[in-house]
Symmetry: C2
DNA sequence: TTGAAAGCGCTAACAT
DNA sequence: ATGTTAGCGCTTTCAA
């Protein structure tokens, strides 16, 4: 049987004061309104009895659970653990714990999980699995629940977001490829229902135009998911259309990994025949051959940034001053999957 | 401002019955004691009003939060995400959510986090970061809090554990090395304050003896942590002692990866000059060169198993019938980091 | 400065 | 079958 917990009432009985006095003595803010000596006596009793505040009870009363929900697509995707550590790193010192849930990129499941989190009375949600059109989280935010989206954003929504500079990333990458002599460049785009997929594709088109690189429609393949299988499928599609290319810029690392795998199966050498690039710089990438040229996004940093925004939302420090969008800088990481074109082909 | 939530009281007012009747009608178990028609009316009202149960309030009353704590060393260690999915996979269908915390292998932090979890009224804890001697969690278990340890166990403790068959794993690996002609085999052992480190070292010594392999003390290096840096350090130590070896069996994959890296720096080829083996078969291992020969443990499966034990603990189904130790089978995975010895050296 | 009392939303024992 | 009542442990207004 679970040993009975020490409550304020126990301390009150022990010290001969009223439970509300105990509550005050143990509250760092209220403590100043209590006689020094009494407060000390209460504190001492609390310590010896091994008192631990019951946050459930406090939460019921104050309507704050000091718990936040964190939604991600899938924790086994290595990009997310560092993000979670970033979140924890800022939230924990303030006494917050987080409940992490995996949506598996399933909108129905996501909606259910939002309810799960709300039922548990989370004070706010950090959402790293949001869709461009996401009525479920929009409704939650509408109801007044503090929400921050991470890595992704909801189209035309007032929900604050922390994202990476997709535009600059794609632009830097395209410039890098062109500097190696590539002019026939394909793009494996991400899912278009995600802001990342859509923004990177748009950025690709715009940057290509700026650089006078002609991008035929059949040099663009759109992945249904950000995974290796889709990367492989898209590369196959690009090859079968027949239009030649010497480089393929992928919307993220996993697509790139899948593309390279598909090339390997067809005895197409990377980077000798086709250069391939990624996006994210996920952990372990530098250990996998060929080492992928990619855009490094801030993982830990993005988690911290989102948590900081949420913190401000929670303490509603003049809402109007909270940025609705925070864009984090990215960095080009050149490795071995990109090379100079043999000829101008 | 947070929109006011619909409560039982609201539904009671709406339907003209007492709040306790509403509570019963909405409880799948109690519902049968309510007139069909009334129950339906209540259910309908709950739906239209968008009622969501307040688990905080229920938890305060029932002393069950339907929340469990999960303690791991560090979520960025790729071995843990699959374990977490395994846990989620069995707990979620029963309505449990989990709060995941990272101990960073710091005993003090671990103790604090146990308090954090208890303050939040978790119904139980799955502990994958436990030390062989771990007074903090022992005390929690003593107090009646359901606890299961995962991957690791506490020495001589009644706390149920789910672990891998370390003994068989080490034995299979040693047999594999010997079958390749290796007789001078070193061991990079894990931290001895962890059951995994200790059991694997013990297993190594015993298995070597059984196979008449002589293991001098200076062929054993003990790592302070299960990480790459320690693997590298230990390999350097082994090399400097001067006693020759043709293979090194490492207590886990990260130590092995570190050892291989240290060899690379010294231009020692793996597996041509020295074979190296790991343990765990962590994700991505098959993408890293040289592909590591290792022992595959069940990651997802271990999470599921631990969650199942916890579930039984929570429902105290004849405690005496709950296994105090569950040992999961392991599997030898032969890849490219082990090779036949050139001569009998 | 301290005590009394109410109540957060829910469940459950008891009464009808 | 339903209503009444009490109370989980805490915070917070109001009174003294």
């Amino acid at each position: 049987m679970l040993k009975k917990r020490i409550t304020l009432k126990d301390i009150a009985r022990e010290t001969g004061v009223h439970v509300s006095t105990v509550s005050r003595a143990l509250d760092p803010v209220e403590r100043k309104n209590i006689t020094e000596e009494v407060a000390n006596r209460i504190q001492a009793a609390a310590n010896t009895l091994g008192y631990r505040p019951n946050r459930i009870a406090a939460g019921l009363r104050t309507n704050r659970t000091m718990t936040v929900g964190v939604m991600i697509p899938d924790i086994t995707n290595v990009i997310f653990p560092p993000i979670l550590r970033g979140i924890e790193c800022v939230l924990e010192p303030f006494g917050y714990a987080s409940i992490i849930v995996n949506t598996d990129s399933d909108a129905e499941r996501e909606e259910r999980l939002i309810d799960v989190l709300r039922d548990r009375g989370v004070d706010g949600i950090i959402h790293a699995a949001v869709l461009r059109s996401d009525p479920a989280i929009a409704k939650a935010a509408q109801d007044g629940l503090p929400v921050v989206t991470l890595n992704r954003k909801v189209d035309g929504s007032p929900i604050p977001s922390v994202v990476n500079d997709e535009d600059s990333g794609i632009c830097q990458m395209l410039r890098h490829l062109r500097s190696l002599g590539h002019t026939r460049i394909a793009h494996i785009a991400g899912p278009q229902d995600l802001s990342t997929g859509q923004l990177r594709l748009t950025a690709f088109r715009r940057a290509a135009e700026d650089m006078n690189i002609n991008v035929a429609d059949d040099l663009i393949a759109v992945a249904a998911r950000f995974d290796e299988a889709e990367g492989a499928r898209c590369l196959a599609t690009l090859l079968t259309t027949g239009r030649p290319f010497t480089a393929v810029l992928c919307a993220n690392d996993r697509l790139a990994l899948g593309a390279i795998e598909a090339m390997r199966e067809r005895n197409i050498a990377c980077p000798e025949q086709i250069s391939v690039t990624g996006f994210n710089d996920m952990p372990f990438l530098n250990l996998i051959q060929p080492k992928l040229t990619t855009i490094r996004i801030q993982q830990f940093g993005a988690g911290k940034a989102a948590a900081n925004i949420l913190l401000r939302l929670l303490n509603s420090d003049d809402k109007a001053m909270i940025p609705v969008a925070t864009v984090l800088p990215v960095e080009l990481i050149v490795r071995d999957s990109t090379a100079r074109t043999a000829n101008g082909a």
